[in-house]
Amino acid sequence: MLRLVSRRARAQWPLLAALLGVVTIGATLLGTCTLLVTRTAERALEIAMADAAPAAVDVTVYTGTVEGPDARSVAADTRAVVTSALAPFPATTTARASTVLRALPPALAPGTTVPAQAYLSGLDDLPARAELITGRWPRHPGDAVLLESTAQLLGLTPGRQVRLGAELAHAPVPAVDVTVVGVVRPLPGRGWDRDPLAAAGSAIGYRDGRFMQPVNAYGPFLVDLADLVSTGATVDRMEVTAHPDLSNPNRRDLETVAGAIRSADRRLAGTLGDRVQLARVSSDLSSTVRAADDQQHVTAAVVLAIAVLGGVLAATALVLAGRLTADLRADETALRSALGTSRRQLAATATLEAGLVAAVAAALATPASSVVHAGLTHLPPLDRAGLTVGPGVTGAQVLAVVGGALALAAVLTVLAVRPVAATGDRRTRRELLTRSGADLMLAVFAAAGWWQLYAQPTAASPRADAVRVLAPALLLTAGAALALRVVLPALRGADRLAYRARGLALPLALSEAARRPQAVAAGLLVGLACAAGTFGVAFDSTWHQSQRDQGALSVGTDLALTLSTAPVPGDGAVVSAATAGAVSPVLHRGTAVGQWLGTAGDPARLVAVDTTRADALLRGRLDGDRGWAELGATLAPPTRVTGLAVAANAPLVLSGTAAGDTPLAVTPRLLLQDATGLRTSCTGPALPLDGRELRLPSCATAAGLRLVAVALPVVADPAGGTVAVAVTLTVPSAGSTETPADGSDWTATSAPPVPNKVTNPSITLSATPAGTALRMAATVELDGAPDAARTLVATAFPDPGPVPVAVSARFASEVGAHPGSTLSVTVGITPVPVIVTEVVPTVPSAPGAVAVLADLDMLSRARAVTGDLTFPVDAWWVGHPAGPGAVERATALHLGTVATRESETARLIGGPLRAGVPGALRLIVPAAALLLLAGVVLHVTCDLQVRAVEVARLRGLGMSRRGIRAVLLGQHAGVLLPLLAAGAAVGALATGVVAPLLVRTDTGAAPIPAAQPHWPWPAEAALLAVLLAGCLLAVAVVVTVQVRRADAAHLRVAP
């Protein structure tokens, strides 16, 4: 038997080489995909965890209220617990602690009866968090440094000694003496938000949770942490943060650590006992590992789908090759049967041959898949993600290769032992029925698969399910099979038309193509491979476009700088200079809609931005043909606010009078706007309305500010009656030539909630030698509580009325809003009336959320007329930042975290845990092209071998070799062209109905915005051109060789 197989292999080596090639390609594809979901996935996890942001992997232990004697041991034990939880990963720890408030010597804060208190803080890495202005860092016990603002307020300089006395609302403890050795300035973004006073340095009227009365708090006095825990002072809060070194993680260790962290609270409580009142472990590490796991599952689902598609393609090619082989060997098989060879012996021979093919294919495919995988990891998506590896062999890969090769070899065996159908030029009724049944079943399965994909929940599981893995292959195969049904009638129609021609070549070519079933034997493979290739290219494009859409919508703009501290005047100019783009301050926070606080702890999001520049600032896909400029125009204010220009550091002078003897005072609040639209409020001290002048502190701390609103809450002792008040604010000229009114529509009004407490509000502007004077007057009713609202408001704009807003589709659905609906959203503590003018699919930077988009200026105006002059800002948005260095320059400002549309898109596309998707998609296209070309060459070769006598007889009829070549080329082109067109159509159809459903987010949920099919015409045209050229070239070569060989020798052989 082995001899027969060996001799036959020598005689039919080209055929066997083709079979071997197909099996090898299929097994290589499987091996490569296996490496993508195993080796690359493991590496991706390592890189993802190693590159994870500290916040995503750090473990922080918060402890509260530690008695002085226990502080040192609590700190040490906390470090030990958290470090052990992170084992086997090494971890570094940092700690910070703050004491409870302690009494300051009254001499340091004179002029008030409110007690002055201060606190100590100890930080492990203080020099990394603050900049030393003067003096030195603490070196010895008792050394302390102060924040610049604290030092100024308390008048402390290096060298001064301070005694911190009794603790506020706590048992008596010894005083703590410290020596001020330096003054520091906190660095932004270095965790000062965790300071009890958020590094403000002081807080007037501060309410400590332990003491009901307000105190004036100062601090921190920054000392060495080891020093702090040895002072005996009661520690109010202590944080120990451990940062694990995950530079070389593996899944098992990560899961171990995640489990240890989940149980760390219990162990911590057991270790610390009653030495602390509160102990809590906080870490995102577990959820980070889980998120990485989910993301890997999503990626694996796509890679597996590609592997299945490749496997189906290889099996289809192999079925074709097997059938052609069986047809060519039909005579030999018949002879062997006639000589007495049993069916079992025939099967044994076929199994032996297929087994040898599988063995050789596996031996070739194992290194080939390693090389292809290594090559793939050198391509941009994987290379950029740091996933580049050299060729290597894994057990899973070998298993997949051998399994795939054996499965494909089994297909060969089955085809070899099945009864060979008669090679007639028409199919039998049974064949037609069988094929129709198979096509119908495919179509039913494909339709069911599509429906399952279509109906899958929006928040589907990330795990790869059979539908998501099998659906693409099923749909493409069914599509290709049905397309073949369309191609054949089309060919027959062309055949009928061709017979009107006078010559022989064209009608004969089309007759051969249309009337011989064997002519389209490779039809399913050609159609499927073309469909798979075009689908692969389009899915790749659809996936990338979806990631870009998600990235754009997620960030909402080109560059977002999310602030870690409140902005100050001039920040906008700094951001603008750094990024050279269109800059706008942005409000981005949760809000309440009327009494509705959102669902499941997910409040409605309010996004407010300068909508007059919506086109430059907003990103994300809108529905239909609408653009952000068009939408922004519906939200933008009708006119810009100009206000009054205020010179930098100019002394604003305020004076006021009140009729009668009742002592009245106002606490003036001013709202100033810079060139970027940032508004900052400035509050002055109480101004008695007795004619005295008050110079306001430096409200205009930057150049280019303009006064746009003034609020004057009137404070009165309990009294009755009404009093006419008048307040004049003199704004020194900024040196410009503009008129006092400056085009602004200054309006005076009485702020709610009891506007009738202030009546007859008026404002007049006049030019004086000292500048522009704003004279605000009103009649104030003094009845009622002394702190009742009696606020006179002057604004450089009229009351805007309800603010026009666009709401997300989810907002409209959950709130029941529609264009024209009037609602109230709360900003801070101020309800703002809004009117819905548009419903958009989703709001930039709030993908899929219940969200409201408004103009920031309009929102500010609506709040200002109610007397709320605060202007909450959470971020700077920059449209069209210039140059690649904009991100670095913006980051260097240390104002907050920077995110860009490009970086988010790059993360989504090229993140290590996702890079397998584009990698696999780039694998399927060349694999499909290779299998298609292999199938075409095999088919054409076998077809021409079978028809060699027929070709020779055409010569006998007087047809020239050139004519015969034309017939054969025309015949094959006539089959291939419509098949390629049909395959492309199937690929396009599958792209339209399936590709968007296959795109999922990291968590397995549907992407927001929803993915849309993307058909990249240039790439598709190039692919089709390559396939067509390759097919025609292969056919031309084979036909030329065959025609040259078609000589008289063939005429001796009877068919």
């Binding site: 030029d425 009107r500 009608p507 006598v949 010569r955 006998g956 009829l957 020239s960 008289a1048």
Partner: protein, 240 residues
């Protein structure tokens, strides 16, 4: 019959190399065939009959010697000239019929006419006449697989006559037919010689065919051994 023979074969040699072995298929074959004659070429399998027919029809080239068909030196023709010769002067009838499977009987017959770019109307008329001639007018739309062996051979003969050739080469045209069908095919060929004036050179083992021929040429190991027409035929030992 004109004085100038339609076919003149002179000292034709043709040998084939199969590995180290050289097979001499034709060794100095010479003979003439007058126009309008039906000549039977007989010999055992492997005696060189098919090679001789192929050399005459320009499907094969002699190693030495000349073949003149209707005054044209076949060996001197290039590929295009040979194609033209087969389209216009010489036609074939093969033992295995040689019909194009995907074409109907009428389309097969029309193939040479299409090669000659005959106008469609004239083509249809001629196809009808030829199918009438071979008695298959009712089977015009049937494909070869739907016809019997004899019917297929009749279609092949009709196709061979379609372009009005001067010389018809038939390579064992009855080799795959039963005796009765073979006889009818031979009668058809004889009739065509009579009615159309076509010269026929037919290789055969069939004694009846030889009896119908004007002349019998016997070939043995590449040499000719001519037998007078009408003389009793000695059956070839390995003849089927």
């Amino acid at each position: 019959m004109s004085a100038e023979p339609l076919l003149r074969v002179r000292d034709v040699h043709r040998s084939f190399r199969t590995g180290p072995t050289v097979v001499h298929a034709l060794r100095g074959v010479s003979f003439d065939v007058a126009a309008g004659a039906m000549v039977a070429l007989v010999g055992r399998s492997g005696s060189g009959k098919t090679t001789l027919l192929n050399v005459i029809g320009g499907l094969d080239r002699p190693d030495a010697g000349t073949v003149h068909v209707n005054g044209t030196d076949v060996a001197a023709l290039d590929e295009d000239g040979l194609s033209r010769l087969r389209r216009e002067t010489v036609s074939y009838v093969f033992q295995s019929f040689g019909l194009i499977p995907v074409l109907s009987a009428a389309e097969n017959v029309a193939a040479p006419l299409r090669l000659a770019r005959v106008a469609p109307a004239e083509r249809e008329r001629r196809v009808g006449l030829l199918l009438e001639l071979v008695g298959l007018a009712d089977h015009a739309r049937q494909r070869p697989a739907e016809l019997s062996g004899g019917q297929q051979q009749r279609v092949a003969i009709a196709r061979a006559l379609a372009a009005s050739p001067r010389l018809l080469l038939a390579d064992e045209p009855t080799g795959q037919l039963d005796a009765e069908t073979g006889l009818s095919v031979m009668a058809l060929l004889r009739g065509i010689v009579e009615s159309e004036g076509v010269t026929v050179l037919v290789s055969t083992h069939d004694a009846v065919m030889m009896a119908l021929a004007d002349r019998v040429i016997r070939i043995h190991d590449g040499h000719l051994d001519e037998q007078a027409a009408g003389q009793p035929y000695e059956p070839v030992p390995d003849a089927r």
